[in-house]
């Protein structure tokens, strides 16, 4: 399984970050039925878990791109509704969008461009490249490079014990592997989200304790 597997999901805060929008905007889009999470479960009165799949992340990124290009939310919503009536299930990831002045255009599978019911053959200035957006979303999945080698404590993760940043791997687990004489390669095979910098940080922590 890879990080682009159909089973890949990310939590809401990470989804917002990947799409380049605020969590508040993400919630608003959910509330107004523009783009809803794939999984939404209420665990307790104050705790709702929301998970977004990879296809949904692409939809968020396309909507975000349209907003950045100055298209209003109402306009995006009207286009989506129109395309759904035309038979598209997920227009934001099935159709290629483009801008020409104030117009928002979309391209069908047969290559023709349309502007909400009218064929369009004029100049197209800005095309929203779906392949580029998909690649960008994929590249943002997983742990950030800047997290490597950093140990931190986080609420709701391993009882706030020290973990490697961007992971749920406790520092003490890796220290145990080091004490048992395991090599860096063996530890990285056991905990694939870790890097050599993390193992060095664990070695430094072990030396400090000893």
């Amino acid at each position: 399984m890879t990080s682009t597997d159909p089973r890949t999901v990310v939590p809401d805060k990470r989804a917002a970050e990947i799409a380049g929008i605020s969590v508040r905007r993400l919630r608003y889009w959910e509330k107004t039925d523009l783009i809803r999470p794939d999984v939404e479960r209420k665990i307790s009165p104050r705790n709702v878990v929301r998970l977004y799949s990879l296809p949904r992340l692409v939809e968020l990124a396309v909507a975000s791109e349209l907003r950045h290009q100055g298209v209003s939310l109402q306009h995006i919503r009207r286009i989506i509704e129109y395309l759904r009536r035309e038979g598209y299930e997920a227009p934001l990831r099935e159709v290629r969008f483009a801008r020409s002045g104030d117009r928002v255009l979309f391209q069908h599978a047969d290559g023709t461009w349309e502007e909400s019911g009218r064929p369009y053959q004029g100049l197209i200035v800005q095309v929203i490249d779906l392949d580029r957006i998909r690649a960008r979303v994929r590249s943002r999945l997983g742990r950030r490079e800047t997290d490597a080698g950093v140990v931190e404590k986080r609420r709701k993760v391993q009882a706030s014990k020290p973990v490697f940043r961007g992971t749920r791997v406790p520092l003490e687990a890796v220290m145990g592997y080091l004490e048992a004489g395991k090599t860096t390669d063996e530890i990285l095979a056991a905990f694939p989200s870790l890097t050599e910098e993390d193992i060095e940080a664990a070695k430094a922590a072990s030396s400090a304790v000893a």
Binding site: M1, R41, L54, K156, R168, A190, F191
Partner: protein, 121 residues
């Protein structure tokens, strides 16, 4: 049976053990949830019809308070997890199949089933 391994579980040792016994198994890192909160991980496993395996005692405590899905807590160091699980795997599979939703604690002495609170109140 389907298993999702928490990020604190030795993915190579425990993963290969479960696959060797014919079970489907993947980790939350492969699922894109590395570094996520306890509840997000538990919801993901449940949503995929998988049993979550973790070493996280606090997450286990939270699952006992708000129980959903099937949650296995390995009471041992990560280095000992594969050997411990191998010793009690048959018993664990039998119990999970029999009892379903709840928390299963795997320790040296064996597997202990903790039912959801609404069943014990």
């Amino acid at each position: 049976m389907r298993f999702v391994l928490d990020e604190d579980v030795d993915a190579r040792a425990v993963g290969s053990l479960l696959r060797r016994h014919g079970h489907e198994c993947w980790s939350i890192v492969e699922a894109g949830l590395g570094g996520s909160d306890d509840d997000e991980v538990a919801i993901y496993a449940d949503d995929h019809g998988a049993v979550l395996i973790t070493h996280d005692a606090e997450a286990t405590h939270r699952r006992r308070r708000f129980t959903f899905g099937r949650h296995v807590f390995l009471r041992c160091h990560q280095l000992d997890a594969a050997a411990l699980l191998e010793r009690h795997l048959d018993e664990l599979i039998r119990l999970v199949g029999l009892r379903g939703v709840g928390v299963y604690e795997v320790a040296r002495a064996g597997v202990t089933y903790r039912p959801p609170r609404w069943e014990t109140d």
